[in-house]
Point group: C2
């Protein structure tokens, strides 16, 4: 009986969602710098996506280089109005693919790393040391020593105990190291709290260790995919107040304010708690984002910079150089995932399942809690006709990609383009029963592989294949 | 205001949950064949887990070989009461680690594979072809041809279109191939429905293709971590009815009934929908499983076999040979994950965070929707004192492992043992910012590496490191 009402409620909610799915502003390829060609196929920088699948196999991640460079330029421009020496550092965790990172670094963007691996990769890619910030809640001694030896821009301290640890290691190496403090502005696990006095105490401790530590930075990172500057702005002011207080109490001027990342893109959104709950319980898909809800990045950043300027002027505080650590903003829109529909199944109750060769458990995990637009790459402009559950290829009902999505009629062999695959898709992907997809970059009618499809041999490369000793 | 009430509700629910956490029957290491040694450390087969972390580094997956062999024996015994020729096939997707698979195959268990990769691995590990079943919703032509050439026990067809496809490929190779039909018994994406007549039509089609196809099997797989046989039993009877009907209408006797897997273990459980919702919304952890709720595997299987026998006797149907495809039952309990506590953080509102070097986004994904017991490996018998949020090492508040878990007082350096890591932990793990942990097997006081810790070089082995052409 409960099941019956659940089903009825679910059906009504899904029907209701049909309206907002139909009215979504996202049904236009131009928002991703794509177009439909005369075959009604999606074309990226002069290449037909259907050809890409034929050439490289499915599933396939595709990086639209033109869009990537545009998004980078959009971000570099507004930062030029910040004090000279301000820097943009790409958040490696967002999409840690060397071929993409190279393009980003080529345009003068540095690296924000959160692990020994990411630090190693930034060094390997030749990122200048003064363009690297090392964050993270669980740094190893080796990685801290490497960062000290490299003379990176700053190691941001997340916890009280890190101060003495970094001091000990710097002393051991007989080096001086620039450090920052991550401020805990929210009720999550990160940083040192301002209100409890913990943050200022930590700063004073660092200052007292000035033979080996150099307090270079205050840092916060507060949100993800923010659509406007208000939260960043208020946090920046809280950080500046602390900077002011430190100046008054110790005479020390901190040169950098690292305002983290989390700048949103208009083409995707994180579900609200309620939307997520309703989606999981009743299968009602979230409302697509409204494009005009998202503040353009130049306004977003200048709003923060202006209010900082105002505060500094009023309080006679020198305006700090700004560090930003965008991830999603730089790579979200320029990458999409092509997946192929294997078969369509109609169940007795009319539910339509499209079995695809990608799913939440292997390659599209962010679709679980974010809205991502989906196109049919080989029939780009067909009318939306049917409600589908798009499933993955692992044998468990948990391997769905999206539920109850309104899409054009699908058939076996169709190619779906899952948009905004440039943030957290690769990072979260696993090789659950299947190797992970390859990645190609497309630029001016040419494609090149930047990551090969995983091979079977690669999947067992870490295994010791002879039988373990029988004890 | 809403936030305030949410917080109050959350606190009351967490306080309530303290009671069932304290009363849980799972606080005894013996259920995993472990013990506390005289240092109050967890010991596995004569080895101290603290030494294991010192020797191999953290995080680390540990396979308790003794428990693995016991669980396999427990499963092999009851299947001997099924008709001769019945077989146990391990579900590779559960935990696809060659070093573990070898132990399983050494005891005469075959392989249930769902992808080209898993089929390749089973062949590489020397599993006899007549001990391999190929399931899956998205098989490639190449993998089907390989399976035909290998002469495996059965390819189970999931969708109508696969019949003609396999027939075409078998004809092309001029071979005869054993196939099964996966029956769609639930409202998920799998199999061919019985009630709509689809399943019997599919069987008849296969029979009509008897120059190249041999209808060897009916298959269903209906659930996960089932605590008693009732659902399997009712599904087996539905499948037998269909077998009977096929016999009457076509004269064909199908030799195998593949009843899938999903047999539960007592030491972990999947959260109910309501528990999951409350856990996500208010942080109230689920009630631990009650050990006596779980039917022992011999009763579980004999209940199914007996009711099948009865049906066959009554209807004069020859009793089919049984195939079972356990995954969790075989490996869940014998593997655990050791992770180290990096620091403890107390927030202004009193919330305690333990930052560990593992989390949901890299290595403990099943903790999201399942209950897993957690011990402090270096203080095995300490009293439970405090409520902790155990977090991972990726810089996002989404990287938690468990919320509001009642545990002994924790401090930096403590080692946590996350139990029942032998099912779906490795399969779901990613290398989000960090390499994946190594795996050691422990047997009679000796440990041996069966999978090495991932290296940084391995993480970029598929990358094309020179800059892509500038187009």
């Amino acid at each position: 009986m409960l099941k019956y009402w659940n089903k009825m409620l679910s059906r009504s909610l899904v029907r209701l969602s049909k309206r907002w799915q139909l009215k979504s502003q996202l049904h236009d390829l131009k928002f991703w710098n794509l177009r439909a060609n005369n075959k009604n196929h999606i074309e990226v920088n002069g290449l037909d996506t259907v050809d890409l699948i034929e050439n490289y196999g499915s599933p396939l991640l595709v990086v639209n280089r033109k869009q990537l460079l545009m998004d980078i330029q959009d971000l570099i421009k507004p930062i030029s109005s910040a004090p000279s020496g301000s820097k943009v550092l790409y958040s490696y965790k967002t999409n840690c693919i060397p071929g993409i990172l190279r393009e980003i670094h080529n345009l003068g963007i540095g690296a924000e790393v959160i692990s020994a691996y990411e630090l190693w990769l930034a060094e390997k890619l030749g990122v200048p040391a003064n363009m690297i910030v090392f964050n993270g809640v669980n740094k190893t001694d080796e990685s801290i020593m490497r960062a000290i030896n490299m003379k990176i821009l700053a190691i941001n301290i997340d916890h009280w105990a890190e101060i003495d640890r970094i001091y000990r290691l710097a002393k051991q190496l007989d080096k001086k190291v620039r450090v920052g403090i991550r401020l805990g502005m929210t009720q999550d696990q990160f940083g040192l709290e301002i209100e409890s006095g913990e943050a200022i105490e930590a700063c004073k401790r660092i200052i007292s260790y000035d033979d080996h530590l150099d307090l270079a930075c205050l840092h916060f990172h507060v949100t993800s995919n923010a659509k406007n500057a208000s939260y960043h702005k208020s946090c920046a002011l809280r950080a500046l107040k602390l900077m002011y207080q430190i100046g008054v109490e110790t005479g020390v001027t901190i040169p950098y304010l690292d305002i983290g990342g989390g700048f949103g893109v208009p083409t995707t959104k994180t579900m609200s708690r309620a939307e997520y709950g309703i989606y999981r319980l009743f299968g009602c898909p979230p409302r697509p984002p409204t494009l005009r809800d998202c503040q353009p990045i130049d306004l977003f950043l200048s709003e923060i910079i202006n209010s900082m300027n105002k505060f500094c002027l009023k309080n006679n505080l020198p305006m700090p150089k700004i560090l930003i650590e965008p991830g999603r903003f730089i790579t979200s829109r320029s990458e999409f995932l092509l997946v192929q529909v294997h078969v369509i199944k109609t169940k007795k109750d009319g539910t339509l399942f499209a079995i695809s060769d990608a799913g939440r458990l292997s390659s599209t995990f962010p679709c679980d809690y974010e809205y991502h637009e989906i196109f049919v790459a080989n029939r780009a402009n067909d009318r939306m006709n049917q409600i589908y559950n798009i499933m993955g290829r692992i044998c468990t009902s948990a391997d769905w990609m999206v539920k109850n999505r309104y899409l054009p009629d699908l058939q076996s062999g169709d190619i779906l383009a899952v948009m905004d695959a440039g943030a957290y898709f690769s990072s979260n992907s696993s090789n659950f029963s299947f190797p992970r997809p390859g990645i190609v970059m497309v630029s001016d009618g040419k494609s090149s592989v930047i990551r090969k499809h995983e091979t079977f041999d690669h999947l067992i490369a870490m295994d010791v294949l002879k039988a373990p000793s029988k004890g």
